[in-house]
Symmetry: C2
Subunit: 385 residues, 2 copies
């Protein structure tokens, strides 16, 4: 039994962060909410909380927050668990800002990590010389389907039944789950961050469906249902090939990743003989429109912090991912941006020299011990178990 | 001055072949029409011709045909010029059937060649042991925008102002133009078949626009305007990159290919600062709907007989074409087909061993003389000018 309830900090006051902060507050937890831009949280600060709407049996009411701030030091000061709820492309800058203020014993959870977000967060803390004994974890997907509905309003449409979570290293996952399961029994043991990261199905769905509907999105401002209209048999076939490439990368790392179909079953209890059917049998996709432009996170976030990371793993460990490379290439051209250069590659994560066994050791058991006082992750380590 | 008017054979009784046969007949030429499947031309045979409708100042009336047949021997017997008007994927089988029946002095024109259609036709004739002294030529695009409007009806919407044509070898282009310019003054000197082939803009437009609108096409049965709705700023940007890759391949072969924007200006007198504007300023694209499915020629013809050929040239002569390879890859996945294996690669054309200068010699001046009695194109030749 816990004697003192966990104190939470939620980083990010977007669609997800506002819902999570309000929900945690309604569950009775002490919650601090951080957003980099004061204006974005001015209304919440003035009212002292967020009004949460929800589906029938879900959480409803006014969630009163203990602290609303744009000051990271203040946000982290009284926190046990830091829930990072920002686009993955902002993980680096959040880590840089947080590095000086994290304290021993705190837990940081990336909601979600996209691909290897925990590893990137750790790399930035190390690069910044953060010596606090902090556990960093990542979730496989975001627990809510939620939306901001006003300056201090949010709505939850669905809470997923089961969301795998893993700490870096996985040895610490139990400790993280112990801390957050009182609030979120939905979080379950995700084995390690390679498994949570490689099971990031959003990265398989979003960019491919977006690009294969590029003209439709840009011509109509996204005035069609993203999954129900945008996923046709041929689009689904291409997404399935992309998904198979992801599962093959996982295999090369000794991980049995779930397929997109299996994931739909796990997260939403959906069935279907193939991906086309499974997506069309998922009532949760009803009413989800396509993004209004091609500039959104389905490309700008998922390509550099997930598909590029997948493809980077594939290239390092010898897996052919030509469908994935084609999607990345088209996104680069669409945005006149080199997402390989700006993306979360193994090089940027400092793990480009790891063999498979070294990488597994790192994510499962932690940093490989070194006789020198300080070891850079970029240096080729020698395993001494 | 010609003493005897040219006798034409039109191979193929689809949207294009019917329009061309009827138009030639209305211009007063003797025309034979061939189609592999007798049922497809039964109505034309019964009526003895085709009723042609057209735009205001265009050709209208009943075009009486001298011969309507599914027998290639009969079709070619009294012919001076054979106009091949079939999808490029059928060029091989037409060449195989025609090989035994072609006679000295006949001219074969691929309308259009797509990419290196004349070369493929020649390769098949050689492989079949055809020794007739036949000139094979290809046009850069099809001269008409036309449509079949019934079993023995066709309609011409537009006749292009200027369509480059080249013979294999280019030495013979003048002879071909002399034969067909009385009927078609629009055909102009296309320098050589590398230039007409590399200026195949349809291959740049069709597959990319189709794939980037895949969901829209399959979800609505193509119920939108292919160019005016399907080509948005981002789709146009990707098409422009693809186009630049094509122009770069041409450069590697010493050819100054026209850009898609230049082509729109030349063929349709359209202007615009960029491809998006040029396409949207082209009144001829109004009313052209997207294909009803993804199974059509925009992928099944343009990928294997053009984009694969472009990319095969690029790989042989050291040009990076990553956008093109991405489009080909997605088409392969969409159709569960290896278009590289089935496509018109340099290997299949028998020119995979040619250096740039050998290739240019072949397309400009013809087969390199060899001291042995018979020379396979697949053998690396020695140039002896």
């Amino acid at each position: 039994m816990k004697t003192k309830p966990t104190r939470y900090t939620v980083i990010g006051a977007g669609h997800g962060g506002k819902a999570m902060a309000a929900h945690l507050a309604l569950m009775g937890f002490e919650v601090a909410l951080y957003n980099r831009t004061p204006q974005h949280v001015a209304a919440i600060k003035a009212r002292g909380g967020i009004t949460l709407g929800s589906y029938e049996a879900g959480p409803n009411g006014f969630g009163q927050l203990a602290c609303v701030t744009s000051n990271m030091e203040e946000a982290l000061h009284d926190s046990d668990v830091v829930m990072v709820v920002v686009p993955a492309s902002a993980h680096r800058s959040i880590a840089r800002t947080a590095a000086a203020h994290l304290r021993d014993g705190q837990i940081v959870v990336m909601n979600p990590g996209r691909t290897l977000g925990a590893l990137e967060f750790r790399k930035v803390l190390d690069d910044r010389g953060c010596t606090a004994d902090v556990v960093i974890a990542e979730t496989q997907s975001f627990i809510y389907a939620s939306r901001s509905e006003g300056p201090s309003q949010a709505r939850i449409f669905r809470i997923k039944d089961a969301v795998p979570l893993a700490a870096l290293p996985a040895l610490e996952t139990g400790r993280v789950l112990e801390a957050i399961n009182p609030a979120y029994p939905q979080f379950i043991d995700g084995i390690n961050i390679l498994e949570t990261s490689l099971n990031n199905i959003g990265a398989i769905f979003h960019p491919a469906i977006t690009l294969l509907n590029a003209g439709w999105i840009e011509s109509t401002g996204g005035n069609f249902q993203f999954y129900l209209d945008g996923v046709t048999p041929t689009v689904a076939r291409i997404v399935e090939v992309l998904d198979r490439e992801r599962v093959t990368i996982a295999s090369a790392l000794g991980i049995r990743a779930i397929t997109a179909c299996e994931w739909l079953k796990m997260a939403y209890n959906t069935t279907g003989d193939n991906l086309y059917e499974a997506i069309h049998n998922q009532p949760g996709y009803r009413g989800i429109n396509a993004p209004p432009t091609l500039k959104g996170r389905y490309l700008t976030e998922d390509i550099p912090t997930s598909l590029v990371t997948f493809a980077s793993l594939a290239q390092r460990y010898g897996v052919s991912v030509r469908c994935m490379e084609s999607i990345i290439r088209l996104a680069c051209i669409a945005h006149s941006t080199d997402y390989w250069h700006h993306g979360r590659t193994l090089d940027r994560l400092g793990i480009e020299h790891f063999s498979v066994s070294e990488l597994l050791h790192y994510v499962n058991k932690g940093r490989i011990k070194d006789t020198s006082s300080k070891m850079s992750l970029g240096t080729r380590p020698t395993v001494n178990a």
